[in-house]
Amino acid sequence: MKILVCISKAPDTTAKIAFTDGDTKFDENGVQFIVNPYDEWYALVRGLELKEANGGSVTVINVGRADSDPVIRKALAIGADDAVRIDADTTDALYVAKQIANYAKENAYDMVLCGKETIDYNGSQVAGMIAELMNAPYVSLASKLDMNGNTATIERDIEGGVEVVETATPFVLSSAKGMAEARIPNMRGIMAARTKPLNVVAASEANNATTIKGFSLPPAKSGCKYVDADNVEELVNLLHNEAKAI
């Protein structure tokens, strides 16, 4: 089973969100970067489990510059066999999807596993775009993936429940909670990761379909209105008459 897992570099979940250059760039000062949690915890680990059960290989792919290498090494430490970095700046989902789809098509993977979104740009776009570019089925927000030969049985989140779908390889999915349990790399994995192949390849020609013009922070909350614990009726009154929420 030849598995490709897409990983993105994302700011740590507790990172301070601030902007520089006239609010046009994310301020990376003091920010710790991690593998995007959905990519790491769910897509990568499920890929590794399938390889362990069925044989094959897990390759991680990232579109980015050399500053992505530490998070790529982390994925290798968790257990991926090798890595590919397509050397490009990433500002647009369609651009990234084209890079990955081109690589995936050339190298005939059985499945391409992504996270459900990145925690920085919250796009939920790249995986579905890759699928269309590969003319392959796409299952979004998958919470379970089982393989039986070339047939995949996948559960995906829907409004108030899950839908069970079946498809054949090759396919693309985006992973949500439930797919797998996060793994912590051990010392052996970390040592091995240093010498595993990380191939840097040139980007293919593509346009940016979108451009980020600037950022802003949400207006601060006007402050919490406190109600005394002995006066719960007042809370209900405020929610009804002031907030008009009940």
Binding site: P11, T13, I17, P37, A93, L94, K116, I119, Y121, N122, G123, S124, Q125, V126, A127, G128, M129, I130, A131, E132, L133, P137, Y138, S140, L141, T153, E155, I158, E159, G160, G161, V162, E163, V164, V165, T167, K177, N207, A209, T210, T211, I212, K213, G214, F215, S216, L217, P218, C224, K225, Y226, A229, V232, E233, L235, V236, L239, A243, A245, I246
Partner: protein
């Protein structure tokens, strides 16, 4: 250049998000002096109602073979409808269905896409939520055709009192490698991601046996229940109730956080809520900084009183 809206349906009925997307698309069409057209795929009724949100015409492809949601087929159908209508702006809801179809369509049409839009476009620039609700970005679309997926419950709906004409639509339906085997609903209860009111509780409740009062409150309010991640992880509550960065992101009108500290990863999934009420014994709990209303107090005393007070209001 008309505006095309994908209006999703569930069990033959248009979804709440479909009407939001319709209203968003219609407002763009109106600003550009053109019409908004909706596409509905599969058996569904009540489609004229889209007119009340500004849709002039509904294209309905009612083939029963399409009742099972299939993103590959729907992508092809929307592309055909966009071509027929000469649409250069295509609108989705950024919900489970939208996330399955919109990216495919973007790649198919080579059209720039913005997901999680929180405001109407300003020319080609669209404001969207980023960093899990902690910031916004202004994104410019550089292609002639643009695709926008609207964040649920974040753009006001405008009603017009109109009624839409419904036309049968047909096109070549692309083949697909996907078969829907089964649909499992967690329960008949209100779905968490669609609920207007959500009552959520955390580790402060001490154990699963104490959730009765949370369910009572939810029932009185017609609310869905949710929980923090540790509560789902220890198995006090089912996983599908887990909200936050790694669980579901929700945007209800009213969110009750009971015995939840307000960790940054929890807030990331609920900070889009319009009104937040926090009940916590610890006056220093970070959640109060994100709250609109707060009670510093013991949930075991406050919540039962709250249930009674809501009962009284509803009576």
């Amino acid at each position: 250049m008309s505006v095309l809206v994908y209006a999703d349906s569930n069990n033959g009925t248009l979804t709440k998000n479909a009407f939001e997307a319709a209203s968003y698309g219609a407002q763009i069409a109106q600003a550009n002096g053109t019409n908004a057209v909706a596409v509905v795929v599969g058996s569904a009724s009540g489609l004229e109602d889209l007119g009340n949100y500004g849709i002039a015409k509904v294209l309905h492809l009612s083939d029963a073979s399409l009742d099972n949601f299939d993103p590959q087929k729907i992508t092809g159908i929307i592309a055909a409808a966009a071509q027929q209508e000469g649409a250069s702006t295509i609108i989705f809801s950024h919900d489970f269905s939208g996330k399955s179809v919109a990216p495919r369509l973007s790649a198919k049409l080579d059209a720039g896409m913005v997901t999680g839009a929180v405001a109407l476009p300003n020319g080609n620039v669209i404001k969207k939520a980023v960093f899990s609700g902690k910031a916004f970005a202004e994104v410019e679309v550089n292609t002639d055709t643009k695709i926008i997926a609207v964040l649920p419950n974040s753009v006001d709906k405008v009603t017009t009192g109109g009624s839409a004409s419904v036309e049968a639509f047909s096109c070549d339906i692309p083949s697909s490698g996907l078969t829907v085997k089964e649909i499992k609903k967690e329960s008949t209860e209100l779905s968490l991601t669609e609920a207007d009111i959500v009552v959520s509780a955390g580790r402060g409740l001490k154990g699963p046996e104490n959730w009765g009062m949370i369910e009572d409150l939810a029932k009185e309010l017609g609310a869905a229940t949710a929980c923090s991640r540790p509560v789902a992880d220890i198995g006090w509550r089912p996983h599908h109730e887990h909200v936050g960065q790694t669980g579901f992101a929700i945007r209800p009108n009213l969110y009750f956080a009971i015995g939840i500290s307000g960790a940054i990863q929890h807030l990331a999934g609920v900070n889009g809520s319009k009104v937040i009420v926090v009940i916590n014994t610890d006056a220093e709990a970070p959640f109060f900084k994100a709250a609109d209303y707060g009670i510093v107090g013991d949930a075991f005393e406050v919540v039962p009183k709250l249930v009674e007070a809501v009962k009284k209001l509803k009576a």
